[in-house]
C-alpha cells in the first residue's frame, strides 16, 4: 500500500517515532534488562538498565533514543535517512548490551550460572523494530534496499552471538547443549512444512482444473476443504492417531516405512489437509481470473488452447498462486510446530519440552526460530510474487 506524500510533508515532524521512542525510554528504564540465573531451573535476579550496563551503557541507550526523538521533530533535509542509520545501527549493536551485562555480573566461579534476556531488552528490540518499519515506510524505499538493511542487522547479530561474550546467555547455552538436535529440528521442520505445501500444491492444481472443467465439483470441493480448516489442528492431529494406528497394525509393512499413529505420518496428512483450502481457493481464483474477453482475443488471433494456457493464463495466474503458496507456507510452519505434540519433531519439540521442564529459554529456542522461519518465508515469497506481477501494472 502506497500513500502519496507531497514533498512538503518531509519537513513536517513525524509523530509516530517520538511516541515509540518515548515508550521505549520509559520501558527500558522501568523494566529489567536481564537477569542472572544461578542455574537452569531457579529464577534469577533481575537487573535494571543502570545496574546491568553501567552509566556508559545507560547513557548510550538513552542518548540513542533521545536522538531518534529529536531527529523526528527537527526540520532536517534527510531526516529519515539519518533516522534509518541511527535505528539500524542501534538494532545491529543491541546484543552488545547483553555482552556487557554478562561481563559485569556473571559470577566468576559458577559454571552453571547464566544470563537471561529481560523484558526491558525485548521491549527495546520490539519498539526499535517498529521504528524501523515506520522509517522504511516513510522513505518509500524499495524492497531490495529494505532486505539489505535487514540482512545487515541479522548478520551483525549472528556475528555477535558467535562471540565469546554472549556464551553465557541462557539461550545460547540451550543451543550449545544440543546443536545437532537443533539442526535436525530445522530440517524436520522444513521438510514437513515444505513437503506439505508441495503436495497440497500439486493436489490443489489437479482439483482446481477439475473444478474449472465441471461445475458440479466446485461447491463440494470448496465445502470439504473449508470444513477441514475450521477444525482446530490439535483436534485433527488427535483424530488421526486412532485410525492411523489401526491401519499400521493391520498392515505392518507400513511400519517399516516409518508410518505410525504418531510421528510424521499423521502430521503430514493433517498438514496437507490444512494446506488444501488456501491453495485450492487461490489456484482456482488464479486460473479463472483471466476474463473470457481476453481469452477470446487470443483465440481470435489464432492461439490454440495450449498456447493460451501457457502464454496468457499461466503468467497472469502465477502471482496469485504464489500468494496462495505464501499463505499456505506460513500456516504450515506454524502448524508443524504444533505437530511436535504428536511426535513429529521440528522446533515445536523445543517449545513443548521447555514448557514441560519449565526451562523458558528452551521454549525461546523453539519459538524464535519458528517465527524467524515464518518471516523469512513471507519475505522471500512476497518478493517473488511482486517480481512476477506483469510489469505493466506498475505504469
Amino acid at each position: 500500500m502506497s500513500i502519496a506524500r507531497p514533498k512538503s510533508a518531509l519537513s513536517s515532524p513525524n509523530r509516530v517515532v517520538p511516541v515509540l521512542g518515548l515508550l521505549a525510554l520509559v520501558l527500558v528504564w522501568v523494566l529489567d534488562l536481564g537477569a542472572i540465573l544461578p542455574n537452569r531451573i531457579v529464577p534469577g535476579t533481575g537487573h535494571g538498565l543502570l545496574s546491568a550496563v553501567g552509566w556508559v551503557g545507560a547513557t548510550l541507550v538513552t542518548g540513542a533514543l533521545i536522538g531518534c526523538l529529536l531527529l523526528s521533530v527537527l526540520p532536517l533535509r534527510s531526516r529519515y535517512l539519518t533516522l534509518l542509520i541511527l535505528v539500524s545501527v542501534s538494532l545491529a549493536l543491541l546484543p552488545l548490551l547483553l555482552d556487557v551485562f554478562a561481563a559485569r555480573h556473571l559470577p566468576e566461579n559458577s559454571p552453571y550460572a547464566r544470563s537471561s534476556i529481560g523484558s526491558g531488552f525485548w521491549c527495546l528490540l520490539f519498539l526499535l523494530s517498529l521504528m524501523l518499519i515506520e522509517i522504511f515506510g516513510r522513505l518509500g524505499s524499495g524492497r531490495g534496499f529494505q532486505l539489505i538493511v535487514l540482512a545487515g542487522i541479522c548478520g551483525s547479530w549472528v556475528w555477535l552471538f558467535q562471540g565469546a561474550g554472549l556464551e553465557s546467555l541462557s539461550l545460547v547455552r540451550e543451543f550449545n547443549a544440543q546443536p545437532d538436535k537443533f539442526e535436525q529440528a530445522l530440517w524436520t521442520h522444513l521438510a514437513l512444512a515444505l513437503g506439505a505445501v508441495t503436495i497440497s500444491a500439486g493436489l490443489a492444481f489437479v482439483l482446481a482444473l477439475q473444478m474449472i472443467r465441471s461445475v458440479a465439483w466446485r461447491r463440494p470441493v470448496l465445502g470439504v476443504v473449508s470444513f477441514l480448516q475450521t477444525i482446530p489442528s490439535l483436534a485433527v492431529f488427535g483424530l488421526l492417531i486412532a485410525p492411523l494406528s489401526a491401519l499400521t497394525e493391520a498392515f505392518p509393512v507400513l511400519q517399516t516405512l516409518g508410518i505410525r499413529g504418531i510421528g510424521w505420518a499423521p502430521a503430514m496428512l493433517a498438514l496437507v489437509a490444512y494446506s488444501l483450502l488456501p491453495m485450492v481457493r487461490n489456484t482456482y481464483v488464479a486460473l479463472t481470473e483471466v476474463p473470457e474477453s481476453l481469452a477470446d482475443a487470443g483465440r481470435g488471433m489464432g492461439m490454440n488452447e495450449r498456447q493460451l494456457f501457457f502464454k496468457l493464463k499461466l503468467p497472469l495466474a502465477l502471482p496469485v498462486i504464489v500468494e496462495g503458496v505464501r499463505i499456505t507456507t506460513i500456516q504450515a510452519i506454524g502448524l508443524t510446530a504444533v505437530a511436535a505434540l504428536i511426535g513429529a519433531g521440528g522446533f515445536g519439540s523445543f517449545i513443548f519440552q521447555g514448557l514441560g521442564q519449565a526451562a523458558m529459554d528452551l521454549v525461546l529456542l523453539g519459538a524464535l526460530p519458528t517465527i524467524a522461519l515464518a518471516l523469512l518465508a513471507d519475505a522471500l515469497l512476497t518478493t517473488l510474487a511482486v517480481s512476477l506481477r506483469p510489469k505493466s501494472a506498475t505504469v
Partner: protein, 235 residues
Amino acid sequence: MMRVWAPPFLLAILLCALSAGMPILEPLYEWVQPDKQQVIYERDSFLFLLQNHITLVLISACIGTITAVAGGIFATRPAGRDFLPLVSQIASIGQTFPPVAVLALAVPVLGFGEAPILVALILYGLLPILRNTLAGLQGVDPTVKEAALGMGMSPLRVLLQVELPLAGRVILAGIRTSVTINIATAAIGSTVGARTLGDPVIAGLVNGNTAYVLQGAILIGLLALTVDSLFEAAE
C-alpha cells in the same frame, strides 16, 4: 429464519450433550483402547473444560474486538492518520507469526496458567480484526462520506451511522477469523496450564491413551463447527 439458525442450534445441543454425557460412549472407547483401565477422561468434567474454553475465547474476543476496532477507527481518523501506515504493517506482519509461537512467548513473561493464554489470545486475536477494520473503514465510498458531511452530519455521526454500518460485514468476517484461530490456540493452551478441551488430548498423548485423545478431539472439533456455523448464520 429458522432454517438459518437450525445448524448452529443443533450442533450446540450435540456439543453440550456429548460434554455432559460422554460416559455413555464408554463401550466405544473401550473398543478403541482395549488395553487401558480408564477410558473416559476424568480429571475434570468435560462440561467444566468446555465452559473454561468458551470463557477464554469469549473474553479474548470481546477485549480483542474492542481494542482492534478502536485502534482501527483511530488510525483512520485525521488525528491518527500518521499512525496508519505503521498500524497496517503491524496488522499484516503480525499475522505471519504462528499462534503457537506467540503463546509460547507469553509464558516467559507471564508465567504459567490462564494469564499468558489470555494475553496471547487477545494480542494475536486482535490482528485479523484490526486488519479487517482498517480494510472495511477504508473501503467505504468517499463520496458517501463527503455527502454525509456536506449535508450536516457531525463526524461522529458519520462514523456511527455511515462508516461502521457499511464496514460491519468486513469487520464481522475478521472477528470470525479471529475466533476460529483462538479456539485452536486455546486448545493448545493446556500445555501452559490453562484447563481447556485440549487437556484430554495432551493427557492422552502423554499417556498413550488414544481414547482420551479422541474425546478431546471430538469435542474441540464440535465446538469449532458450532461456533463457525453460528457466524455463518449471523452473516
